[in-house]
């Protein structure tokens, strides 16, 4: 392959992934800065940090999301715990989606065939593509490094912490590359790789929360990141583990990438079958049929984490709460996180986020139908476009309700098993409490779909991400009250710790209704838009 061809392929991959890479880089950079700077300003003294550390260090639910805290007395140690642990999961998501998109996505679209029809070897094309994806990863690393540096953390350790955070991205880049060889479509490849990520996360959670299972940390790329101990006695040698894993996965993937038929996968579903006539009665039924696998994945993931969070809700003891911690909790809005109801209320915020992201997924799915021309096929039939969009809105509402309900019931079941004594109806109320904000973001996402179809997915996900990061870090940064209050998540009550806020919920429902109606109105008027 000529250097010019390699440059062309790499340039294409970088350009195709620039929105994804850019937004992740921005997220990593901002969060790294805001989190470290926020901790330094919220807990300026050693005494304040000691209080914070005593109360949070042994809370199992915090460990679930962030991993084991090694040292909460320094800004670096806090960052290592709060950012590195959580964002290693996000990095893994980036790694798998980026490599699947660059490999399987291109192949699905028929462009790989076009490239390989030229005087280009398949091995070099595969390697060049992955190197370009990796270059995108370097950009994210750079952004996070800069963010930590800007919050006045030392350069060397910041660089290593960013590397540790991004290390699962390297492993999952390999996972994505292998999944792209196994699956015959982008969607299935993403599902396969995500299943592996869910397993990796489950192993880390078990290792971090169950006593005696700490050794499990060595079995998961997310655990390796923890074992690198950024800011708290760095162990760079552990970096060899993700490198070796990625090397092995890529070596496994390289064989089929060179030899298999383009357009096929190693896991072949049969091309023919007897017709299955269920779910063909209407476009709504077909949409449900098409989305059923993804819905099942959502619900089972929510159920597993709901049960775990519920079971861990009794783990925070309420001996004494230092004033600094009270201030911190007050800023986050939690009344009494030390009771099971308080802990559940606080952690249900993450299920609220999940419900919001679910609605974004529905916006993206609707847009995919349009971009790939199937909506045109459908609307050339005697089927009104308002009916179609109304159907998608109904599916979104139903699916979001299912996600929230699953979270409520499984969390209750987990809590009941641990003897937390939170009644079922309170958890159902918590589930209900998720809905207004999620439906509001969903409606705004569909409004974007109706007004700016090509940007709809990005706008929907972007809005939720910005609002949520705002919620997590706005209060810590000591921003003025009205700025902190600008994110809708500030107005979601922490049920069951707090009573359901009817007024705020009513406003959000009203916005959701208005957004939905405006979306219907705008969609009725616009031209269908292809890719």
């Amino acid at each position: 392959m000529s250097p010019a061809a390699a440059r062309a392929i790499a340039g294409r991959v970088l350009r195709d992934g620039r929105t994804r890479t850019g937004s992740f880089a921005l997220l990593f950079g901002l969060v790294a800065y805001a989190n470290a700077a926020g901790y330094a300003s919220a807990y300026p003294t050693l005494k304040a940090r000691l209080g914070f550390a005593r109360s949070f260090a042994d809370n199992a639910v915090f460990r679930l999301f962030y991993g084991v805290p090694r040292d909460l007395l320094t800004v670096g140690g806090y960052s290592a715990w709060r950012i590195v642990g959580f964002f290693s999961i996000i990095a893994a998501v980036w790694g798998l989606t980026a490599s699947v998109a660059a490999l399987r996505g291109e192949e699905d679209a028929g462009r790989t065939e076009l490239v390989l029809a030229g005087p280009i070897g398949r091995g070099p094309a595969f390697a060049t593509t992955l190197l370009a994806v990796l270059a995108g990863g370097c950009a994210i690393w750079l952004a996070m490094f800069a963010g930590l540096l800007a919050s006045s953390l030392p350069a060397g350790e910041s660089a290593f912490a960013a590397l540790a955070t991004l290390s699962p991205a390297i492993t999952f880049l390999g996972v994505g590359a292998l999944a792209a060889q196994l699956a015959a479509s982008r969607r299935v490849a993403v599902e396969l790789a995500s299943a592996l990520l869910a397993l990796a996360l489950l192993l880390r959670i078990l290792a971090d929360t169950a006593s005696g299972l700490g050794w499990l940390r060595w079995l998961t790329p997310l655990g390796w990141t923890e074992e690198m101990r950024a800011f708290t006695g760095a162990r760079p040698v552990v970096l060899l583990l993700p490198l070796a894993a990625a090397g092995a996965l890529l070596a496994l993937a390289a064989g089929p990438a060179r030899r298999r038929d383009i357009g096929s996968g190693l896991l072949r579903a049969p091309d023919s079958r007897r017709p299955r006539l269920r779910g063909l009665a209407s476009p709504l039924a077909l949409a449900l049929r098409e989305e059923r696998v993804s819905l099942a994945i959502w619900l089972s993931a929510i159920a597993v984490y709901g049960a775990i969070v519920g079971a861990l809700s009794t783990s925070l003891n309420s001996t004494d709460i230092p004033t600094a911690l009270q201030r911190e909790l007050h800023k986050l809005g939690a009344a009494s996180i030390t009771t099971p109801a308080g802990a559940l209320g606080f952690y249900f915020l993450f299920f609220t986020l999940a419900a919001c992201l679910f609605t974004c997924g529905q916006v993206a799915a609707a847009r995919r139908e349009e971009a790939e021309g199937r909506l045109e096929t459908l609307l050339a039939q005697p089927f009104g476009r308002l009916r179609w969009l109304a159907g998608r809105l109904v599916i979104t509402c139903g699916g979001t309700a299912a996600v929230a309900l699953t979270a409520g019931i499984t969390t209750w079941a987990g809590a009941a098993a641990a003897g937390a004594g939170v009644p079922l109806w309170r958890m159902l109320e918590a589930a209900l409490n998720c809905l207004p904000v999620a439906l509001m973001f969903g409606a705004l996402g569909f409004l974007a779909f109706a007004c700016a179809p090509r940007a709809a997915g990005g706008l929907a996900y972007g809005l939720v991400s910005v609002a949520f990061v705002w919620e997590l870090f706005g209060s810590l940064l000591g921003a003025p009250h009205w700025i902190v209050q600008a994110t809708p998540f500030q107005h979601v009550a922490l049920v069951p710790a707090q009573p359901f806020r009817l007024a705020a919920a009513a406003v959000m429902i009203a916005v959701a209704l208005a957004g939905g109606l405006l979306a219907l109105g705008a969609f009725e008027r616009r031209d269908l838009a292809g890719q």
Binding site: A184, S185, A269, D271, S272, R273, R274, P275, R276, L277, L280, A281, S282, P283, L286, E290, E372, G373, R374, E376, T377, L378, L379, A380, Q381, P382, F383, G384, R385, R387, R525, R526, D527, L528
Partner: protein, 315 residues
């Protein structure tokens, strides 16, 4: 050629059925680009209408407006008297559509796709559909993702034809079909026409249009530049006349309708529009050995309209 039932549909027949397709001053602009300008079409029920034009001339735009997929910048389009934007769903009850690019659900098999499309459309002749599956030799147990482009095109065609809809709107329906299937396609369109169905065939395959269509419209840069039955188009266009003389050809005086004269060693070749009388009168005074007069093919008519135009320009 197909039997010329080409009644010029100037409007809705008095007391009868409204035109299958009728547009008045239909325009579509995409930002600065003018995709379609002031289109007036009137296609009577039962007509087979060929819609010709190179890539980017505005054929697909016209169809998207007819189907209510895009909204007209000005003007109106009606299908059987119903506004295709405001009353789109009702209008499309009598329409079946084949897109140039087949966009179907990859995880469904062809048979499942037929079932779904039949449910959405509401009417389907199942026996005829089975017959079409035979005729087009489609393996309908296969998933769409496993089908080639030509086979996916067949799925669309079969689903559309099986509705027996009053109006078939076909956008370059034979792209991707092999010559055998092209024959099957022509047979199916002729069947539809014999049943009284209206066919709107957008194409740039001239032989196909010549074989199937009663009436032809030629689109250029978003404007309808010519329209009529093939006979009318031929009549209006120049025919080619070749005359062979016993000796060198005479100097031709200026005659009405004669153009593009080329003189050979003992022959003349010229284009003639209008009647041949004056030319014959002149030639009678000279030693003519042979005279041939050939009607223009659709290809020549088509190329005539694109003479000197950069047809590769996209829209």
């Amino acid at each position: 050629m197909h039997s010329a039932r080409g009644v010029e549909a100037e409007g809705d027949t008095p007391g009868g059925e409204p035109a299958a397709i009728r547009t008045r001053g239909l325009c579509k602009h995409y930002g600065e680009t003018i995709a379609l300008e002031d289109l007036d079409l009137s296609i009577a029920p039962g007509e087979v209408y060929g819609y010709l034009g190179p890539n980017g001339a505005g054929k697909t735009t016209t169809i998207r407006l007819l189907l209510g997929l895009h909204r007209a910048s000005s003007g109106e389009a009606r299908l059987f008297g119903l506004d295709s934007w405001r009353e789109g769903a009702s209008a499309r009850r009598r329409v079946a559509y084949v897109a140039g690019e087949p966009s179907l659900w990859p995880a469904l098999t062809a048979a499942e796709t037929f079932e779904f499309m039949a449910r959405v459309h509401g009417t389907t002749d199942v026996a005829y559909r089975d017959q079409l599956v035979e005729r087009f030799r489609l393996e309908d147990a296969k998933k769409i993702r496993a089908l080639s482009k030509g086979n996916r095109q067949k799925v669309q065609l079969i689903a559309a034809l099986a509705t027996r809809a009053d109006l078939l709107i076909l956008d370059e329906p034979t792209s991707g079909l092999d010559p055998l299937m092209e024959v099957a396609f022509r047979e199916s369109v002729q069947e539809a026409s014999a049943r009284g169905q209206t066919v709107f065939l957008s194409s740039h395959i001239l032989s196909e249009v010549e074989a199937l269509c009663d009436r032809v419209g030629i689109l250029r840069e978003g404007r309808l530049v010519d329209q009529g039955t093939l006979a009318e188009l031929r009549h209006l266009s120049a025919r080619t006349v070749e005359v062979t003389f016993d000796g060198p050809p005479p100097e031709l005086p200026k005659l009405e309708g004669v153009s593009a004269v080329q003189a050979g060693e003992n022959s003349l070749r010229l284009e003639l529009a209008g009647t041949i009388g004056p030319l014959l009168g002149f030639l009678a005074q000279h030693p003519v050995l042979a005279l041939t007069s050939s009607e223009p093919s659709l290809e020549e008519i088509f190329l005539h309209h694109y003479d000197g135009l950069d047809v590769a320009r996209g829209s």
